[in-house]
Amino acid sequence: MWRYVGQRLGQSVILLVLVSMIGFGLLYLTPGGPMSQFTLTPGMSAETLAQIAHQMGLDRPIPVQYADWAWHLLRGDWGRSYRDQSPVLSVILSHLWATLELMVSSTLLAMIIGTWVGVLGAIRRYSVADYLATIGAMVALSVPTFWFGLVMIYVFSVWLAWLPSGNMYSNGASGLVDYIRHLILPCLVLTLVTVATWSRYMRASMLDVVSQDYIRTARAKGLRPRAVLVHHALRNALLPMITIAGLHVPTLLGGALVTETVFTWPGMGRLFLDSIGYRDYPVVMGLLMFSAILVLIGNLLADLLYVLADPRIRMA
């Protein structure tokens, strides 16, 4: 087991190095580059530009700049933001919680609804409700998240005026009730995509399980159908879902970014857009790295938890 963990960790670290090289290369080789903000400023002479480039260390070869960046990454500050010279890692961490709150709340909601819909679809296969759920999930995966956000704002904020249309707190307000009122809409929007995926896989997993012999045995023993369903079928059907949850991290992160931009939620997505706007390369690179790390952790946890949860898988 521990050898397997070590192996997977090693692979992830190697992949992460590759990820950082690709990310850095794309970012710094793309036309535009960190200097573009100054070249557009009127009255900048070539000497001043060269001086700025020198001060920022941008006149060095790309591999040297990469090594410098990697050194900062290992030292733990991830470089300095161009905007206010604060360490990139602390800038990211200060926006992390808002994003996590959104992701965790919507994932929990999606799991509850998705499990229910998936199980229902499996035990009443080919019923009208099942078909509606199937079609509904496909449509939910096709609706542009940001547009769904706009529609929700129109219905619940503009038309009904029940909920606020953005931000985390009202002006000058604080407290749990105000926070939850702001969380509801973005959380629902982010839930839509997750619930569609989750219910589909849950249904497939449940179908695999209910056709197994031990379920027939349990029913033949005369257990109540509900007991068979909850204690025998559902427990085992939820196992493969660990993997699904882990592999869903990139979609969820992307969805969170989109949702945050529509609802001006002060998380990593907002930070990302602001940093792009300011051409704040260190923060953009930091966010790319940070999201890649989150994705890799998701993959890793998916594999490891599955091994822990399923005794049938034994690692040599």
């Binding site: 190697i14 992949l15 590759l18 990820v19 690709i22 990310g23 794309l26 970012l27 793309t30 036309p31 535009g32 580059g33 573009s36 035990i123 009443r124 296969r125 080919y126 078909y131 199937t134 079609i135 496909m138 449509v139 995966l141 096709s142 609706v143 542009p144 547009w147 769904f148 706009l150 529609v151 129109y154 503009v158 589909r200 896989y201 249904r203 497939a204 209910v210 379920i215 159908p225 509900r226 068979v228 369903l229 079928a233 990139p250 979609t251 992160l253 992307g254 970014l257 989109v258 931009t261 857009l273 792009i276 706007g277 051409r279 953009v284 790319l288 999201s291 890649a292 994705v295 890799l296």
Partner: protein, 292 residues
């Protein structure tokens, strides 16, 4: 849960047929929606009395379904319908072009990696894994914001962020196909590597490629609309479904139809391609069907 809850495991014949019929229906609906949208967007604007850039300030914010503007007019009095159709030309073009490009790149990488196992294959597939670590929207936005936006650059960028799935699918298939007797036989009679890849292996993977490509059009349309919505994609006055949504945001309270119709158009196109791709997948390999 009633007592019958767990007793539906044996399939009932009538319902199964209904299922096939309906799934088929969905794929047909998808194809019809896509075909209809393409025809409307290509031919529609010719029949409209309004130009896409004709500004008519006396008739701003005309509501839809009443008067001469069928879908209403926008903040400058431009006809929404004709703009929607012209935007569709751009959005659908970006979708198809990005799909074509990403499929070519994905197939190239996938075939090479699946054929030349060992170092070439390992390096290529690890590169695929690495690019997949970035949520594609992050990568897309970064590139779109840095490069000067336009139809061609947006197409390139969208393609650059969506070739990996195709590569993965093709790699897996080619790797297993290589071991089959027909491939081994072809190798034994001494055909060149290129012949083996292009004439023997590729045709057998075509089905999977078509499915992935169809789903990629849907993805590309979604990605383009989002980047344009944020203002980093197609720039006005060239309309695209995404940038029409961007402009509509300000008038959400007073003229909601400006936001609703472009979104419906995107959804319809994406749903169409997704249904089509799903139907094709069922037709090609029933074992991959997650809906069963």
């Amino acid at each position: 849960m009633s007592a019958t809850a767990l007793s539906v495991v044996p399939r009932r014949r009538g319902n199964l047929a209904l299922g096939r019929f309906l799934r088929h229906r969905l794929a047909l609906f998808g194809a019809a929606a896509v075909l209809g949208l393409v025809l409307l967007c290509v031919a529609g604007p010719w029949f409209s009395p309004f130009g896409p850039l004709t500004i008519d300030l006396r008739h701003r914010f005309q509501p839809p379904f009443v008067g001469v503007h069928w879908l209403g007019s926008d903040q400058l009095g431009r006809d929404l319908l004709v703009r929607l159709l012209l935007a569709g030309r751009i959005s659908l073009f970006v979708g198809f072009a990005a799909m074509a490009l990403s499929t070519v790149v994905g197939v190239l990488v996938g075939v090479l990696a699946g054929f030349y196992r060992g170092w070439t294959g390992t390096i290529l597939m690890r590169a695929v894994d690495a690019v997949l670590c970035f949520p594609s929207i992050f990568l897309l936005l970064t590139l779109a914001a840095l490069v000067s936006p336009g139809v061609v650059t947006i197409t390139l960028i969208v393609a650059l962020t969506s070739w990996m799935e195709v590569a993965r699918v093709v790699e897996g298939q080619v790797r297993s196909m290589r071991e089959r007797d027909f491939a081994v036989a072809a190798e034994a009679i001494g055909v060149s590597d290129a012949h083996l890849m292009l004439r023997e292996l590729l045709p057998n993977v075509l089905g999977a490629i078509v499915v992935a490509a169809t789903l990629n059009v849907a993805r590309a349309i979604l990605l383009e609309s989002y980047v344009s919505y944020l203002g980093y994609g197609i720039q006005p006055p060239t309309p695209s479904w995404g940038n029409m949504l961007n402009a509509s945001q300000e008038y959400l309270g007073s003229a909601p139809w400006l936001a609703i119709f472009p979104g419906v158009a995107i959804t319809l196109a994406v749903v169409g391609f997704n249904f089509m791709g799903d139907g094709l997948r069922d037709a090609i390999d029933p074992r991959l069907d997650v809906h069963r």
